[in-house]
């Protein structure tokens, strides 16, 4: 028998399923995350990211399936101080200074970090004496991170942590998160920005309509969702001629309007050159990056269940 330490077990989701009424939110997710990984849950709104996170944190009870955090249930892991969570919404408690609030939360944990160290790490030292109601959006976000970190958790779960921040705030946020990741902590964060997932995560889990549709390193995921589409109006041309162009993955026709899909910008450049030289009659040419939503729809394919989900109000 090999000895496996409790913490080496990481995070295991098995058959995790949750519906709100008739609307499925998460549909049988299986997922293993090893300790120390930084993982992005990437997906459009309604993909099931928040519900998955809520179930991981024990805030929402799954309809079926299990969550195991370092070998225990979410609530045991939370009580043991192994988990820090930053939820999507949540303001700070009023009538306290930043330092007092972080101290208050620290007192709940068995083995917390020093309050001053956490304030330093999250860049909140400068305004630690200020009342929580007198902070800017970026400062509030730092304090929320401090609250999630003060437990010195093995796992840090962040639900769309930068949603309320401007570009500069985002950069600062991820800079302080790098310091946390460098301490060997497991970080799981939800986002709907591909760039953010790419820049910070070492693994991206792509979710759409309650399912995991792709899971891999950022380069692999980027190739999948970083596609381009070319639209053009071109009379009296057969669809087959256009789909045969170099670089074109798929082609669609609606009357005289064609949509050509390419897997990345290199192939769309190639396709565009041959389109313009081979079909001088092409007009209204438009090239654009596929939106995440569109990319996800391509990845999820024609699963009949997905249509049920879309037609739901």
């Amino acid at each position: 028998m090999t000895f496996v330490s409790e913490h080496a077990q990481g995070i295991e989701l098995r058959g995790l399923t949750k519906s709100y009424g008739d609307v499925p939110a998460v549909r049988s997710i299986d997922l293993s995350i090893a300790p120390g990984e930084t993982v992005a849950l990437l997906g459009p709104n309604g993909a099931g990211k928040s519900t998955t996170i809520d179930m991981m944190l024990g805030l929402t009870r799954p309809d079926s399936g299990t969550v195991s955090l370092f070998g225990s249930t979410p609530s045991h892991a939370v009580d043991a101080g192994l988990v820090g969570g930053m939820l999507q919404t949540g303001s700070l408690l009023d009538y306290l200074s930043v330092r007092e609030l972080v101290t208050m939360v620290a007192s709940l944990y068995p083995d917390p970090l020093k309050v001053e160290d956490v304030l330093e790490l999250t860049g909140a030292s400068d305004f630690a004496s200020r009342r929580t109601t007198k902070l800017s959006g970026g400062q509030t976000q730092r304090v929320r991170v401090a609250i999630a970190l003060v437990a010195d958790p093995e796992l840090l779960v962040l639900d769309e942590p930068t949603a309320a921040l401007d570009v500069e705030g985002r950069r600062d946020f991820w800079n302080s998160m790098r310091a946390v990741a460098a301490r060997g902590k497991t970080i799981i964060f939800a986002t709907h920005y591909l760039e953010e997932a790419d820049a910070f995560a070492d693994r991206i889990i792509l979710m759409a309509r309650g399912r995991i549709v792709a899971d891999g390193p950022p380069t692999e995921i980027k190739a999948k969702v970083g596609g381009r589409t070319i639209r053009t109006t071109l009379p009296e041309v057969a669809l087959a001629d256009l789909s045969a162009l170099p670089g074109v993955a798929t082609a669609e026709q609606r009357g005289d309007a064609f949509t050509l899909t390419c897997v990345d910008s290199a192939s769309s450049d190639l396709a565009l050159r041959s389109l313009l030289s081979g079909f001088p009659a092409a007009r209204d040419v438009e090239v654009r990056g596929a939106g995440l939503e569109e990319a996800f729809l391509n990845l999820t394919g024609d699963d009949p269940d997905d249509f049920t989900a879309t037609s739901a109000p």
């Binding site: 709100y20 939820l87 408690l93 306290l96 709940l108």
Partner: protein, 242 residues
């Protein structure tokens, strides 16, 4: 017992938020002086009017103090703080204990200030009588405190102010805090079923050198059990995300 630090900061927050003083202290204090100073020698319900009205205002102020925790719970639920706390080892019992305790500390503060005000208008009681009165009021506040927490889980923040204010004002009025509503008949039988009646009666009881009759203990006990039960149900319903 490490979670006592949490309770300590909870008390600190409440002290810093001075708004609670308006209905739990300033309002009852003004009413007391405005009305009792005109009728210093009158007799009501068999006891001096200033004593009766002081106890009435103590009932009104302290009920406002203990239900106010309901408002703070509703506000913390709305901004998502309660959810954030569910991702910490904070026990639900500690959370509510801190809320009830701060409500009681505010109530005690109002009772002391109103007692001092009473003495300036000639209210004289011996130490035992004072302690009996304050003790009975604190016991009588139990169902009211539970009611605050219950409403904090049932009513939205927007309508909570009127709901809490309405409940305490109605209970105060029916309980005789602003003057006896009934001294005999069916109405008296009915108001005797209210906890606020017995809170107001704490003054009369203590003045007479006795404590509550068995009837009072039963009323308070039943109200406490029922409100705590409903509060537990409301809490479960509010935290279970479907």
């Amino acid at each position: 017992m490490k979670q006592l630090t949490y309770v300590r900061y909870e008390v600190l927050r409440t002290i810093r938020n001075r708004r609670f003083l308006i209905f739990s202290l300033i309002f009852p204090l003004i009413l007391f002086y405005a009305i009792a100073s005109e009728h210093r020698t009158a007799v009501t319900d068999g006891i001096p009017f200033p004593l009766y009205f002081m106890t009435g205002m103590m009932a009104f102020g302290s009920m406002n103090a203990v239900v106010s925790s309901g408002g703070r719970i509703a506000a913390e639920r709305q901004v998502g703080w309660t959810r954030q706390m569910r991702v910490t080892p904070l026990r639900t019992s500690t959370y509510f204990f801190a809320k009830v305790l701060t409500g009681y500390l505010m109530a005690l503060f109002s009772l002391v200030v109103l007692a001092l005000a009473g003495t300036t208008l000639g209210v004289r009681l011996d130490a035992t009588q004072w302690l009996t009165m304050v003790g009975l009021i604190l016991v009588g506040l139990l169902p009211i405190a539970a009611m605050g927490i219950m409403l904090g889980h049932l009513v939205t923040v927007d309508s909570l102010g009127p709901a809490l204010g309405g409940v305490t004002s109605l209970l105060s009025l029916l309980g005789g805090a602003f003057g006896p509503l009934a001294t005999a008949g069916t109405l008296l039988t009915i108001v005797k079923l209210l906890p606020s009646y017995w809170i107001v009666q704490a003054g009369t009881t203590a003045y007479g050198g006795s404590e509550w009759p068995a009837e009072a203990w039963i009323v308070i006990a039943v109200w406490t059990i029922v409100t705590v039960r409903i509060t537990a149900l409301a809490y479960r319903r509010a935290t279970a995300r479907v």
